[in-house]
Symmetry: none
Subunit: 248 residues, 2 copies
């Protein structure tokens, strides 16, 4: 994904140009955004109540109050993205609008698709800083609990003590439980590049992993070898064979 996906946006379009609004609304519907169409600018307070993500507004409707209105609108605590879309203007006007807090200024006549793209870009940019921590679900298998948020695996609350590579290897295999992951894929996913001929890193790390997993969760086997192919994650309670009454 090149940029953030165009998630749903609550948008208001304040414009009396019915032709423009109609075409814009059509495109709006196509991308699934909910939009309020307002032929006349409401008080800023009313817009505030709508909890909008973005607003497209033709400042021509505001008359002499335009600058005050924009300033007020953009000065709110949780101000929406403001895109001014109006007729011909001077550089000074555009600069003033942007400096007052507007996020973009599009000059009519313009293509609705571009207006949308610009709203999208502005919303994306604002959201970019917000949610970045992904709520990562743990993967459980057998006695193992693999927690991506800790870069660590646990058995009954005790950490296994994995290094970064070890964890990533385990995580990759456990993400496809029961399926064989080819050696080459392991290599390119965990190491990030193609496997060089004769490289044994994967084998060595599988061994380290098995050792630590055996120590942390004895009696279980998690990693299975598929000769000539790769490895498979599949938690199995092993048969006890040395000591007699290990299990009950």
């Amino acid at each position: 994904m090149p940029a953030t996906a165009p998630a749903a946006v609550r948008l208001a379009v304040v414009d009396s140009d019915s032709g423009f609004v109609r075409v814009l609304a059509k495109r709006l519907g196509a991308v699934g955004w909910r939009a309020q169409l307002l032929p006349t600018p409401p008080p800023v307070e009313e817009l505030q109540v709508m909890r909008l993500h973005a607003i497209v507004i033709d400042t021509a409707l505001l008359g002499s109050e335009a600058w005050t209105y924009i300033e007020h609108l953009c000065g709110q605590a949780a101000a929406p993205v403001v895109v001014i879309c109006t007729g011909p203007s001077s550089v000074a006007q555009r600069v003033r609008g942007l400096r007052l807090g507007a996020d973009d200024w599009v000059t009519k006549p313009c293509h609705p698709e571009e207006v949308l793209a610009r709203v999208e870009a502005a919303v994306r940019r604002r959201r970019a800083g917000e949610l970045s921590s992904q709520p990562i679900e743990p993967i459980v298998g057998g006695e193992l609990e693999i927690r991506p948020d800790m870069f660590e695996a646990f058995v009954g609350g005790r950490a296994v003590g994995l290094t970064r590579r070890e964890f990533e290897l385990l995580h990759l295999l456990a993400a496809a439980p029961g399926r064989v992951v080819p050696r080459e894929r392991v290599y390119e996913r965990v190491w990030g590049y193609a496997m060089a001929h004769g490289d044994r890193s994967v084998d060595v790390f599988v061994r380290k992993l098995r050792k630590k997993l055996e120590a942390a969760s004895p009696g279980w086997v998690y990693l299975h070898t598929h000769f000539g192919v790769g490895y498979r994650f599949d938690p199995q309670e092993a048969e006890e064979k040395e000591t007699e009454e290990v299990d009950r």
Copy 2:
């Protein structure tokens, strides 16, 4: 102040149009922004090392690689604000550029002041997003009380005496208690741009933080290192080790 004050911005201008660049640079100096002027587009990796807040680029210099370049540039974890400033273009081209992650698209000929205002708006927009996601609620952990409203942490009512960066680092880590925050994420959240290879700022600040926290709240450990990954905030009352009977 109508909107956010135009704080210092590290900007790169990638354009071979010396006339345009010269005029732009003049205005740049007037507002006190540091700017790199690049007549030819460097690899995206080099731009990353510069740790820019924003970049103004004429895509005409990129030739057929333009879209790929833009996508790569905007696809980074902590991508800078990207403003494309180039000659005549079609609606489809502008939409494509914006969808790929560009923040604005200005058509030449244009006034440097407007370009600046647009960069400013985009930077402001991003910073707004970063702030809005930060709750004002204090975070408590161990003896520590972290108060975002004061940019300071307290132990028993006494201020720890954190600098801005120290506070933001602590705040970020403490916002995800018990979870490991990767170094890159720390960097892009606290510093606001991608981490350059070999940068040790995070380590240095962790050390400063630990020192101050230890002084303010002795006997407690708050910051834990996860080798090869990052750091984790998790208040723990430390074992006393000067006295002999630590273990039995």
